[in-house]
Amino acid sequence: MIRKKNWISFLIAVAVTFGGQGCDFNAAEDAFDDIGYIIELEPINTTVTLQVLDASTLRPISGDVNIAFSGTVASSLVDVYSDNLQLTRLSGGVFSFGVANSVVPSDSSPASLTVMATREGYFSSETTVSMKRTGSHSLVVTLLGADLTKDTAGSQNSKNTSGSSSGGVVSQPVVISTAPTSQTQATATVEIPTGTVLLTSTGTPLTGQLSTELTVFENTPEGLSEIPAAARVDDNGNPISIAGAAFFRVTDSAGNVASSFVPPPPGKFGKNPGCGVEEFQVLIDVADSADGDYSAYIVRLPDWVQLEITGQVANGVMELCVTPDNWAFFQDGQPSDGYLFIVAAFFGPANCELDAATTFTFSWPNNQTQLNIAVNGPGVYYESFGVNPNVALGMSDLTGLSPASSFPPGTYTFTDPQGFVQNAEYVHSCPSASQQLVFPVVPPVNFIDASVTASVACPAGTNVPIVGEISGFALTYQRASSSGAPQLVNSDDVTIVEGPAGCSGDECLFWDHALVTVRGVASGENYLFTAVLGEDTDEQTLRMGANVNYTADDASYVDQCQ
């Protein structure tokens, strides 16, 4: 018989056995200790990366730029968190955002978006992108600095203080010219005679020492590319066949800016050579132009309203005689920054539209990279950023102009900054015939498709608490030795990876890195990469190889780690 004492001993042993196995409080505590928020952003089907570049360097402009959107989808823009976009000012020159998913761009219903960028010290400019598909798109605005202090290829500037005004009347004439350089052959000259009264927009005369700035642009791709886009089209949106351009400004020692003038009384002061007594002279090089009458456009800034006048060309130089009415055109009581921008146009055969069925395809087999394509025609130059290869495009896609725009007849060449696009020409005649042109894209043999692993420099034990798609993430890259604009990685070439290899437990819950295929880069060369998520940017210079690591260490990214 089992004694009672033995039963109790047995039961105690059983209780200890079960109780001893019991609960692992350490494991439970560890499990709850690391709980933190994990977020997922709504996918955005159509994304845009906006870049505001300095036209002289094609590098993003640092500092604040004012932004205004217009177009068919301007009211449907969202930030990378899918909230209504409230952007009116951009810092850092790069920003990513999206279009509401309710908008589905297509060939039959393209989504049009125009951005106007303004910044003090730069001529304002705008760019339009027509989106015909979902996915990533590039929107690039180039701003020309009004105060060019260094010469660039295609433009030349000059400053002097040769003139002076006494009692509001020019007593020493303003004579300013630019000189040709090894980079720029075009020149321009402005002469404002004695007896002229220079007035501000409120009618106040300039007095004392006069400072004059003059910049000339020559009729080359480099020169034309720097002319603000709004100055390259007429009031009907048709591209101007530009023979040359210049802008100048006159200020006095108090900082007053001349925005109109009163001519000298007839016969009392020296006559302006080449122009009438009530005019002042502007001379602009218009190389390769035959002698005769030409159109010129005086452009009012900052809203780019144009006034067409006539100039005469002799020996490759256009003479423009600016009348008080020409300049007084700007004197409407509105604040004026005083820049007089003049664009001289070729006066040749009539422009005409391209045939509606004319298309251009850049053929790059098995490739998703977006190209930056420049279109160079007779006095016409446009750059299109983020062009998709293997897609039939119209001239409007490559220039941002309306499909109904009229182009000057002549030969148009298509190039890209890296030289991948070869032998790409289109001959435009009026009337235009339908053409479907396919241009090969052939990178040199040392150009590779690099695999870039992009991550964030999170402190040990922390992660970026995001999962799922990050639709608004964009990556731009440009060859350090290139003068071209940054290229945009296609969103299809970005793969999000959650959890590091071999992870366990909570390590697997978070975004770990993005695998990015960057196509057509020169192995062994340095490229400047910019990661963009909304207004957060990070820059790294990486030496290209088959496999490259990009670790974002900007505070805006690292601060997200938890």
């Binding site: 439970a28 709980i35 952003l41 930030d79 799922g468 805006s556």
Partner: protein, 217 residues
């Protein structure tokens, strides 16, 4: 969850015995399953059967501000204890000491929810609304059936007219299940559920301690 009234089980017990011979007792107790009531009958001399029902619940709510991000979150939680048990007592020493075995229908669980009620300022130019951030809700529960073994004192069926009843034992409740669901931007936070379940999977045993007063009818 479907609740099986313990009175039905009690009725079935009575159906197996003759009324004139049935010895019955009742008890009221407080336990780790909550306060409850018991009906007991003698099956054979030295063996009783008890059917008990337990129930207790509580709720709490609070607004908590996370100092690291200045977000105020409204929390609500409801906790439920209780269940139904069918236990068999064996009195080996012909006194009040008994060994007990049986099964619990476990109703222990909790539900909770939390949602931000303030904005979250992400940066100087970006603030997320509470609606945008979303909410989390969850549930904690055990498998329904839990076998039990234990010891105790007190015989409400054949002991004194009024008796003190005590039970101490272990119910094998199985690994608890933690369910987490999310809405809005923070919805993926629910992914933590797998890690939490792994951390609490060892909590398979639930202590049963009961103290009460029995009355022999």
């Amino acid at each position: 969850m479907k609740k099986i009234p313990f009175l039905i089980i009690a009725t079935l017990l009575f159906a197996g015995t003759s009324y004139s011979q049935t010895r019955v007792g009742i008890a009221f107790q407080a336990s780790t399953f909550g306060p409850g009531a018991t009906v007991g009958v003698q099956i054979v001399p030295g063996v009783n059967a008890r059917v008990s029902g337990y129930m207790a619940s509580g709720s709490t709510s609070d607004d908590v501000t996370d100092d690291s991000n200045d977000v105020t979150v409204a929390f609500d939680a409801d906790i439920t204890l209780g269940g139904v048990s069918l236990l068999f007592d064996w009195f080996p020493f012909k006194n009040a000491f008994h060994l007990t075995g049986g099964v619990f229908y476990n109703n222990i669980g909790a539900e909770f929810s939390g949602a931000p009620i303030s904005e979250y300022k992400y940066s100087d130019s970006k603030t997320f609304s509470a609606d945008k951030l979303g909410s989390l809700s969850g549930e904690f529960k055990y498998p329904s059936i839990a076998p039990y073994v234990g010891i105790g004192t007190g015989n409400i069926v054949t002991g004194g007219r009024v008796s003190f009843v005590f039970d101490l034992g272990i119910a094998y409740v199985g690994s608890p299940e933690f369910i987490l669901e999310g809405q809005g931007m923070i919805a993926p936070t629910a992914r933590h559920a797998a890690t939490i379940n792994k951390g609490i999977e060892s909590f398979k045993y639930y202590p049963f301690l009961s103290l009460g007063i029995g009355v022999r009818l």
